[in-house]
Symmetry: C2
Subunit: 233 residues, 2 copies
DNA sequence: CACAAACGAGAGCACTGCTCTTGCTTGAGA
DNA sequence: TCTCAAGCAAGAGCAGTGCTCTCGTTTGTG
């Protein structure tokens, strides 16, 4: 079915890829709201209605771009993590966070598409879940390594949050203490607060040396998760 | 010029307000991208071209709504702060953060308009700055009170960030130590990371008891700023 | 009282997402 | 090998958008 069952199937794959490529170009240039099916078709020398053979609607095309963006970000973050493989958890944590920031600055519209306000009336289908989880899994892995290595400081957990914390830990990282999982999730969200504020102009006239500011902030984030004093690395 | 110089001027103010009201209604219902000048005009019984006498473009109308949204959020936060006036800084900090979260949940599209991805091709004019600063000023004020009361723990500051930290402190809160101002700005951004992740669905299937989670997270945020052990309040 | 400025209405331009119909092409089963 | 349905591109068309321009009318001021 899907595997090169003929010239036709191969052509379909190629055209689909060409559409996505051109759409990604337009997304990077002008943003999601200005992505136009007609303009994509025009650029590809086809008529707009032909494009609907490949993507049933504009939203479906956007969904494909969303998954690609998550994957691109995930790959970048994983590459940065591997490049820092020899270092201690804190250094790896910072490396991943900085990779996220750099990717966001380099792909502002893609970042806005996946972490900014979702396109109105549009809710991401479950298809995007695995791609979206990659950075989070990376952060969990770093903390897990640190935890196995020498344990972590466990920030206190209020009583009313304990059941939820245990549920989240069971879901995401059964081998980590609930206290850690809770602050880890918060740090994950806060990382994107830092990136988003810089990217969307909230730091204009406030923060100038954003690189140094960011590094310090994500270091503090790691501190909050208990990730300090890696094995002297 | 601007003050009720006649029936005409008054009518202009009323029509302008009516346009904004209807636009705000549509924004709340369908989001910024679906806000249509023609639909607003239609609902108001006027023709679309007449609307351009009041707002030169769709972006100008959006800018007006952005300022209103900032003000609405600012008022809500300030009201929550006053309601907690008797309490200690930590309690007031949490009260303000929770007010921000509640406002965001109650006004998702307005929140997305001001803190989500900015409308492509659109950059907010300086007009919005004072309205946008209100929540930040509130947080600074809380920390200032705490600092005057009994001082704060000062998280260490890396050497490469010191000049920037001193510059930021001089700009925003000359009476606070640079270390505090730096983590305060980071906490400010991180607050919006937490809110945005909940609002934009990133916590789906991850965090269930979001109220308790949020309270704990902003408590940790306050802890990072040095805001613990208020005067027993 | 006159006259310019402000205003509402309408037509029109260029664009959008999407649907439907009309033919042509391709590839798999009889 | 031939047939015939499925896949496909093209074009016309619908309803909607932001925005501009023109044309009378109203209004307030010098």
């Amino acid at each position: 079915m899907s595997t090169a069952h003929g010239a036709r199937a191969r052509a379909r794959i190629e055209v689909t890829a060409a559409i996505k490529d051109e759409a990604r170009r337009q997304l990077a240039a002008d943003g999601a709201a200005r992505l136009s099916l007609r303009a994509v078709a025009r650029e590809l020398g086809m008529v707009s209605s032909a494009l609907y053979r490949y993507f049933p609607s504009r939203d479906d095309l956007l969904t494909a771009l969303i998954i690609d963006a998550y994957d691109s970000l995930g790959e970048t973050a994983e590459a940065a993590h591997e490049a820092a493989a020899g270092s201690g958890p804190l250094h790896r944590w910072i490396a991943v966070c900085e990779a996220v920031r750099r990717w966001a600055l380099g792909h502002p519209h893609e970042y806005a598409l996946i972490y900014g306000s979702p396109v109105p009336g549009y809710t991401a289908p479950d298809t995007t879940v695995p791609a979206a989880a990659r950075v989070g899994l990376l952060l969990i892995g770093i903390v897990r390594d640190a935890y196995r290595g020498l344990g972590l400081a466990r920030p206190p957990l209020p009583a009313d949050l304990r059941p939820e914390a245990e549920r989240m830990a069971a879901d995401l990282a059964p081998d980590l203490p609930p206290e850690t999982v809770t602050v880890l999730i918060a740090a994950w969200a806060q990382l994107y607060g830092l990136v988003g504020f810089e990217l969307f102009g909230q730091f204009n006239r406030v923060v100038e040396d954003r690189e140094a500011f960011f590094r310090h902030a994500v270091g503090q984030l790691a501190h909050g998760v208990g990730l300090v004093y890696p094995q002297k690395g």
